[in-house]
Symmetry: C2
Subunit: 209 residues, 2 copies
DNA sequence: GAAAAAAATTGAACGCATTCATTTTTTCAG
DNA sequence: CTGAAAAAATGAATGCGTTCAATTTTTTTC
């Protein structure tokens, strides 16, 4: 029968998350007041806090959804990467970037990044960096695949380079979220330049190692 | 005569900054209450806000001091870099890392990074990224110097790689500040691994280009 | 050196996230 | 179906950064 209680709880959870998501989109995360979210979701402020630990918890729910989808899409790229190292890295990173504004605004991303850094002992931060690590792992997996097929030099440290590349794409993405006027194309263009610089170094020696 | 007003203002400014710095060190940035800082500095809360725009402004003053000193030390490394690319990069980055906890705690760094990301239109953020850019520029300058002297391949894109390396050392530093138990040696060790991976790619071709 | 003007100080008041004691609703035992 | 127990909902209270109107101190003017 799934109990009245269970059903109501699920409905309210959804209701709050929907209301919050809408408000974040309309007025921004910081400007969205808890009592406004509660009101839109037709619950009291106290009840809101029965469903979510705090305001950040709402954001985490949305970020998780976003990154999980992007990880899923990234898998396809890793499974069948384009011919050149440059194209392969570009494809994977573009996948990340292109998906980034589906559920979140730049301000929401900034807030998520800030919170994850500021309070490392928090479930928010743990989950955020878990997702980050999964993305970095995906970059490393791509590099390994390229090595296996001889597209890049086999003597390169794929794990270290995967981390380096992820740190870089992450930093560029941070820069993107910090400039409300920057279009996605600019981000992609900058990323392409860095990818070119790196893949230029990753070409295998002429006589295969 | 330097006017009574001027002198008092300077004294109070120092007094507040000293009190804040001490409290941040003792109880942490977040736990330090504005009224406690004001009390320790023997001013009212209202007066505090005549001297500093907000709590973050205090942090910015301390961060600026820190980074300016580190930039100064970095100059020496860039002016006379060690013999190998690996040693040179390691020396520069170690300089940054080794100085990092002189004025700031890990928590203060985290807060500074978080604030700089979260509120990009803020003087805090602008100044913080100005300092960041100066550090990245120093890495690029080092790479250029190494290229000029033939230590690393001349066909590498020094500007792009400087940014990549800075993004990476920054990400590793962020990780360091997020783990209260991580000693500096661990950070340095990880950085060494990444530097080795990168300089492995940067060796000039055997017949000079 | 007194009065007017300018600058700085002050603490009470405000906004907003979060907590908590109380009340209401739902479930369960008999 | 009833009453006790468990769970959830509620909104008033709290804590803390920041603002602001009123007061005090310093400087300037004559």
């Amino acid at each position: 029968m799934a109990g009245l209680r269970e059903r109501q709880k699920a409905k309210r959870n959804r209701s709050i998350l929907t209301a919050a998501s809408a408000l974040f989109g309309q007025v921004g995360y910081e400007a969205a007041r808890i009592d406004a979210i509660a009101e839109a979701a037709e619950v009291s402020v106290g009840t809101f806090y029965n469903y979510f630990e705090n305001k950040a918890d709402l954001l985490l729910a949305i970020v998780s959804m976003e990154v999980e989808e992007v990880l899923h899409q990234g898998e396809s790229v890793v499974a069948a990467p384009p011919a050149t190292a440059e194209a392969a890295l570009f494809a994977l990173i573009s996948t990340y970037y292109d998906h980034s504004l589906v559920y979140l605004t730049k301000e929401m991303w900034r807030t998520a990044m800030a919170l994850s850094i500021q309070h490392p002992e928090t479930p928010f931060s743990r989950r955020y960096f878990e997702l980050d690590a999964a993305l970095a792992e995906q970059v490393t997996a791509l590099l390994r695949g390229l090595q296996a097929r001889g597209t890049i030099r086999r003597d390169a440290d794929a794990a270290a380079l995967g981390e380096v590349i992820f740190a870089d794409l992450n930093a560029m993405f941070t820069g993107f979220t910090m400039d409300e006027t920057m279009p996605l194309a600019t981000l992609t263009g900058r990323m392409a330049a860095h990818v070119a610089a790196l893949t230029g170094l990753l070409a295998p020696p002429l006589r295969t190692v």
